[in-house]
Amino acid sequence: MQILVCIKQIPDMEMEFNLDRDSGWLDTPSNPEYKMNAFDEYAVEEALRIKQEFPDTEICVVTVGPQRSREVLQRALGMGADQGIHIQQENHTSSSQAAELIGGNLQDKYFDLILTGAMSEDNMQGLLPPLLAERLQLPVLNGVVQLEIQADTVRIKRELEGGYSEKFQVSLPAVLSLQSGINTPRYPALSKLLKAKQAEFETFNPEEPKTGEKLHCLQKPRQIRKGLWLEGDISSKAEQLFKILKQKNVLSL
């Protein structure tokens, strides 16, 4: 079977960002670090798991982004994916733009299954799977925690909020977004990673699509509770917290 996995390169969230007040956007640090969106690793791993069961499976990974985002295609190939597609975009793309770019450029290709992570750690919208499915006229389900391919259908269990789950049978082709924790993503194998560095990726250079919403700027999140910052060294902070909790009468000491 043919599987497409949508993956994304994102900035390492542990980097020190600087918000540029004029542009309303983040300054790129002098030594920027990027990585594969952690949620997407589950999607690549799940495709590999299906390939173990059905060895004639071919796994294609696709990413939207600048030249550097080929690193995540290489990483996915290092994990065991077969081929990569790079849709070049210099600017930051929204979920709806990514859906249009992937859906538009890959519409002549056939995939039995399209897998995605739950969301990207930078945009955090979780809108790519439904928007991509709508473009391709395919069924879609979010939050998948178990999946089992049976001939031309897939049986899935997916997680809802508050400890509920529900099961569906979906006919293929279909788009599934996977919940984190569905599997344990493997590390890329060094030998495959080295080979991936030489890999050729099919590349598209489309224009930036229009978007339905304008991102004016970023801001620091609002302070919801009036946070009191404890000062001093670590022992002093521990003692201050001890006093606060003692006053609350919750300690069993």
Partner: protein
Amino acid sequence: MTQKTIILAEEINQEINPVTFELIDLAGKLAPSEDPEIVYPTHTDTDRAKQLAEKTGLRVTRLKIQGSRGYNPETYKQAMQTYLEQKRFTYLLAANNTRNRDYIPALAHRLGNSCISQISGIKQSENKICFLSPMFAGKYEALLEPETGSAFLLAQPGSFQANPPLFETVGEVVEQTYAGKPKFIHSQGMEHDQEESEDLKKAQVVVSAGRGINEQDNLELIKRTATLFNKGSMACSRPICDMGWLDYKYQVGETGATVTPEVYMACGISGSMQHISGMSRSQLIVAVNKDPGASIFNHADICIQEDAASFLETFLEVCS
């Protein structure tokens, strides 16, 4: 008929989902002078429509969806499309949850509209309204402005006020039926499979671990800290369960337990909206994180910038 805002109501545990009232609060902020209208799509025979009309005083359309056993995103999408095509509206408000994300964004696209999810607030300036939505792991929030005729907005539960206003009048209830057969997706039932831990349910103090605890062995510090309290329990954020370090029954957040203890100690938790919605109503929130930019600090009463494991070690010494 013109209607400025349409609210998608839903039920949970045979009750009106409280987030429906939050959406009414949001609608009031968006269009203070106009009453929103509620649409309540359902495949069940239970009827919350009357209850909704009584509690809110608003006009409720009960959209009865026939033809599928259980919730089915295909039939819900078709039914909602049929309903919305008869309406003129500026905003469709729905809760940001797994089911709504199945079909609301696609419907927005199909009807030529934009969709913004995970909305946690609004910012009004001059004559435009921007919606706040977290970005970059919640370290920043984006100001997004829809540029289409109507916008479909998925609001993050817990972000708006859920106190239902009292109305003296009862809203009108309208019934519409939609019959359609799903082509691709067949429902095979719903389950409640994650009972939260008994200790966690009863806890007065919750000591909760996040990825910033760094090593599985450090969970011992969380457990030992929880024993310092009269009714203490350990808990964690989702990544800890995903890594297999703790069972999902200890998970606090959207897909796990919602807790309201007297004290919630978030240790090494970055503070995603999904986690916040499970603990934001705790009385006192203490956050320990070595990253001063972690968004958990925006939701904390007491902020401690330290490595979580080192701090707990020191705290345990102080308490002994």
